[in-house]
């Protein structure tokens, strides 16, 4: 069973007056089949955690370790992490002009699976996945994220999640900027992937809203660059009622 183990992770970014530490010792274990919600106020470092796990060059790991089934993720390049089974659904997916969605998806699937998917099966697979996300087939001929609405971008991210079948899915604020219908469609997509039992999900979110659709096994409160409290789904209810105020104060006093 695939397991992602994050141990005492410290991460810095380059700021105007030298490196600034954002993650200050994160410990977390995510197993295949589990769903962990990472919740925290703006600026708590939860997106930094997501991007650091995917290997974004902006972030420098200064300490700790990340292992996927015992393999050192931090030693891997960005594409190697994806091939190893780490997937990051981005909050702000990037436009790639001139590259069609269908070409992009096939190139990505070929890279991640290690061989080109059989064309006929692939076309069927993409068509079904798009239909499930209520995406127009014409979407496949558009350029990646170019001119996409907020909802289209997030559906496109979840489409990739469904097609690339990672071991660990990190969903960075996938719920932000979505209306209720889009949130439901996107959540159903995530739940389809979760129901296979083959993915460990790290759901990074600011709001509790998405948790009405996706039931987490664990909820972690992120503040001041580390996990300050962990619990079950009931912790989300507490956050819903009380907000992050208590944690932010705690974070400020460090």
């Amino acid at each position: 069973m695939a397991t992602l183990e994050i141990r005492d992770l410290h991460v810095s970014v380059e700021a105007e007056n030298g490196p600034r530490e954002i993650l200050k010792g994160v410990d977390l274990t995510v197993k295949q089949g589990e769903t962990h919600a990472i919740m925290g106020p703006n600026g708590s470092g939860k997106s930094t955690l997501a991007y650091s796990l995917a290997g974004h060059p902006k972030y420098t790991v200064t300490g700790g370790s990340v292992l996927l089934d015992g393999e050192d993720v931090l030693e891997m390049s960005v594409d190697e992490r994806a091939k190893a089974g780490v997937f990051l659904a981005m909050q702000y997916p990037v436009e790639v002009p001139g590259v069609s969605v269908s070409n992009f998806l096939r190139t990505a699937a070929t890279a991640v699976r290690g061989e080109a998917p059989k064309l006929r099966l692939w076309v069927k697979e993409v068509k079904e996945a798009m239909a499930a996300l209520q995406m127009d087939p014409a979407f496949a001929e558009r350029n990646v994220n170019e001119g996409f609405s907020g909802g289209e971008k997030k559906r496109h991210e979840i489409l990739q999640l469904e097609l690339l079948k990672p071991k660990i899915a990190i969903l960075d604020e996938t719920d932000s900027g979505l209306d209720v219908d889009a949130l439901r469609i996107v959540s159903e997509g995530i739940n389809r992937v979760r129901s296979t039992g083959e993915v460990g999900t790290l759901l990074v979110t600011h709001y509790t809203r998405i948790l009405r659709y996706i039931k987490p096994d664990y909820v972690h409160v992120f503040a001041g660059g580390r996990i300050v409290e962990s619990g079950g789904a009931e912790l989300a209810d507490k956050l819903e009622n009380e907000g992050y105020e208590a944690y932010v104060k705690g974070g400020a006093s460090e």
Partner: protein, 409 residues
Amino acid sequence: MAEQNTTGSTTAGSIEVGTAGAGAQLAGPGTGRTAVQQPIDARVAVKPSFDVNDFPVPHGREEDWRFTPLHRLGGLHDGTAAAAERGEDKVEFALPDGVTAETVGRDDARLGKAGTPVDRVAAQAFSAFEQALVVTVPKDAVLTEPVKIDVRAEGGVRFAHVVIDVKPFAEAVVVLNHVGTGTRAANVELLVGDGAKLTFVSVQDWERDAVHVAQHNALVGRDASFKSVVVTFGGDLVRLHPRVNYAGPGGEAELFGLYFADAGQHLEHRLIIDHDTPHCRSNVAYKGALQGQDAHAVWVGDVLIRAAALGTDTYELNRNLVLTDGARVDSIPNLEIETGEIVGAGHASATGRFDDEQLFYLMARGIPADEARRLVVRGFFAELLQQIGVAEVQEQLMEKIDAELEAAV
């Protein structure tokens, strides 16, 4: 103004039918000119001439020479190349049935009909060439295979003159392919007879140290269609000057270009479309990618709509994709309009870069860095390639692009 396009910069402009002020020269942001700048024909300092002695030696500050590193021209501009030892070209042809290729002397009456040299190097080429090549596609001939002219330059200096004469109602694709190295200056005349269709492809696949300067003069007949496809990959300095004139109404010209500048290369394309005849159309799309230190691309697109050119429809576009730091693009679209009675006129120029965020996004989906770059560049050029309309040429060019990326990434 828009002289050096920094990455991410965009200029665009358009003018609608009969818009107030359409008779005036466009000026201001996005037009690539300031109000005080001279009109296009006045900017060309010297009158066109076949005689090199009618042009002063350029010093580099002239409007039409200011981007060109003169010291890398191999003396084409100052007479030293003309005095140097001549080199050889090995030329091979593929001529479909009915098409003729002749080598003729300087006094052949068919030379010089499509246009006149507009700068000193073109005039030098005309003044110094020894024999010209005349390729004729007879009247009404509809070719199913392309005419191929493969030129392998074998060093030294050489001046060339080529005439492609497509007689009325004929249809032809002509591919002029350049490989090898040397210092070359040429004039290419493209005569497109009434009702004829010519697709002319000029590929500059030179070795890294070649110098190539050429003027392409197209004279588009009544109701004729001319398509120019200019593809520049190789050479140390390549400066091409495609020009279009119309011999009668109803003519159509499409000018497509694709270039890929690597470290240190200077690739310059200067176009002029002179609309002096009513009801003609023109469409320009040039796309370039750059990578490496001091890769330099220059694109100047001049479109002139003279008072007589009623019903003109024209659009020009230049896009550049900067793949690495250290590259430079100068992109200048110019549109000069002397009549408001036109269908449309517009231009756009944009220079963008393949950035780290795009790279990260693609890599985060398992795509390795070199493949990601290839994907983006292929996508960038694909749309343009599809417009060439000659499958064989399209495939070859895509392979060349892949090879360019393979070599440099």
